[in-house]
Amino acid sequence: MFDDATSERLHKDTEAGFIAIAGNPNSGKTTAFNRYTGARQHVGNYPGITVEKKEGLAHLSDGSTVTLVDLPGTYSLTAYSLEEVVARRVLAEDRPGAVIDVLNTSVLERNLYLSVQMLEMGTPLVLCLNMMDEAKERGVTIDIERLEQKTGLKCVAAVARSGEGLDEALTEAVKLSKATKGRIDPLVISYGPDLDAVLPRMIELVEKAKLLTDQYPSRWVAMKFLEKDKDIIGRCRRIDNAACDQLAAIAAKVEAHLRSTLNTYPEAVIADYRYGWINSIIKDGVLTGDSEAFERIALSDKLDKILTNRLLGPIILLVVLYAMYFFTIEVGQYPNDWLSGAFDWLSEFIGDKMADGPLKSLITAGIISGVGGVLGFVPLIMIMFFMIAFLEDSGYMARVAYIMDRVFRFFGLHGASIMPFIIGGGIAGGCAVPGVMGARTLRSPKERLATILTVPFMTCGAKIPVFLLFTGIFFKDNQPMVMFILTLAGWAAALLVSLLLRSTIIRGEPTPFVMELPPYRLPTLAGICIHTWERTWQYIKKAGTIILGISILIWAAMTFPDLPDSEMTMYDNQRASITAANEGKSEDELSALTADIDNAESAEKLRHSLAGRLGIAMETVTEPAGFDWRTNIALLGGIAAKEVVISTLGTAYSLGATDAEEDQSLAERIENDSNWKFSNAVALLLFTLLYSPCFVTLAMIRQETGRWGWLFFSLFFNLILAYAVAVVANQLLA
């Protein structure tokens, strides 16, 4: 599960007392973790999967430090989600010295369901009764001493937002860790006569075959056979398949018995008895008061009357989404421009200091523009994650999923898919990079994957210059309308492809949509900032390394091989003769005169390069779509970054670097080029909309899905789809 280095480090920490923080989502677990560690935290992913792994250092009151690991927020420790599998593996394999179990006191009953399961695993717990202030407002009183007596656990009243009680909880956890060395006798509760009767025999089998007994209590492993836990049973089968057959046979027999006599099955019985145990504790004088009479819930309900109202709800949702889009893309444009300005300046500065040649070209055109391209997205990502964190922490994001779910479910998606779509360009001008990253808010793996793979079909900001250029030429009279239709086409493509994927390669029942709607809360600024920064940093690290490599590759493909000496000499001679004929003129005037020759040389260089040759070779394939070699090179370059399409077309048309909005000459060239007709222009528009995502997006798809396979799938599937659509459009309209 973990790479060796991580494991080793965690094991070292164990000796010094590494403490884990566990709890339900919305229990204030992350707030507590942030309070403990501040900015001293490290966020990564568990290798190969996308579950976030957070670690940090906390200071104790005596000045010593202790490593904290924030487990993923889960409701249970079954194998329902990756988060749950990860949480229980950390508990079993990395063995924290003790666990601080953060509970939402107002929802104590359900929160204790996770605690019971940790106790069954033999994990030493400190119960951190969080949101004590809210519980008091609700009129809920907890007899802490009695709870301690009944559970035998240290219990601490806390308010994580203000930090109250957190020091005490940590001190107790460290004490517990020293006393227990990370293991206590597992909690044994009765699961009723039928299961209790078969468990001893099952435990015997587990112990004899040593099924994971070095990590988990044997009774717990036996129970997993009754619960039909795929993860654990699969791992046990690799140890002793025959013993597992015997265990499965016992489980099947008792299940058949339960079904015929009580119309139930082992998993349900186990859950009922766990809740029964919880009830026997909290109903016995521990918890008093009516948790329903509660102001915050009352306020939350009032807000929901408006925010999820049949009519107002969707309208408010659209306004919020538009505002998010506006701030991310429109406001983010300014810092984005400053950054790219800074990189242009750097490129020029270094260019001036260096002699012409491949090295200068590598540094300015390859490295600086590549890194600049990656860092240019940073403001967008920071702004977006800041707002997403606000919406998530406030509780509104759950309502977004609630309102939109019915519509998106039809396409095999999830209500929460709407947000990544909008950010990715659902409103023209978004960006697929933050869009793909924004899909993190989805908890259902299949729906999340379908969202990640379809976000790139939206009209991102980098596709727009291409659309503007060609609609400006071929749809002079109704350009805005056509731009709008292209945006809708992006939506149609995303939703239909999602429907296709969800009924083919990502097939499967929709993930159960059983989701908590937490009461509305005002998020803490520190929490949002930490959240924003950790995600941005992850982006810079991951994208930075991959993109740097790829931009150097692309640069090389468009630069080498160089023109043969004879042709270089020809251009040099032409320039020399112009210079000679205009002796006495200033350097600026001279360079204006030789610009045509420079541009012709660049075009010829591009044609001669590896990318150029590829473009020419591809003409046979792209001919049905109506693309010539110039378009091919531009589109190839567009896989690096869609912004490159126009500038490469400019170079290929011997225009030097071209900006679609300022310089009209490229439009004129294309208009006068007899190769460009209405049919292949439409084909190009559709191709640009649909084809392979840019490399930054691809790198994010790799990061967010955890698999290279999905990167290649996106690259080729979208390419083939776009090609098919472009060919059909070109042939039909020709």
């Binding site: 359900r110 998993e267 009922d272 948790s291 969707p314 759950a398 609630y402 779910d405 019915r406 159960p512």
Partner: protein, 80 residues
């Protein structure tokens, strides 16, 4: 309409109505998820709202709010 003790599924509950869960008919992953969230026999639930397109449904139980789709609500038997 007089309040009678009639068995039904969660889907049929009106907004505002209170009922007691009598059984969960789903097993496997769905059943596990439903139970993990606290929907177990004997628990009182109140239907507090429905999404604009009537689905999913929002419930109040044990002091928190839960939403589930109608197709999942069909697995939860209640007695009003």
């Amino acid at each position: 309409m007089p309040a009678t003790d009639k068995p039904m599924t969660l889907r049929r509950m009106d907004v505002g109505q209170v009922a007691t869960i009598t059984g969960i008919t789903a097993d496997g992953e769905m059943g596990r998820r439903i139970r993990d969230m606290g929907l177990i026999p004997g628990i009182k639930v109140q239907c507090v709202g429905r999404a604009p397109l009537e689905d999913p449904v929002a419930l109040r139980l044990m002091g928190f709010t839960l939403t589930l789709r109608n197709r999942e609500a069909d697995f939860v038997k209640v007695m009003a």
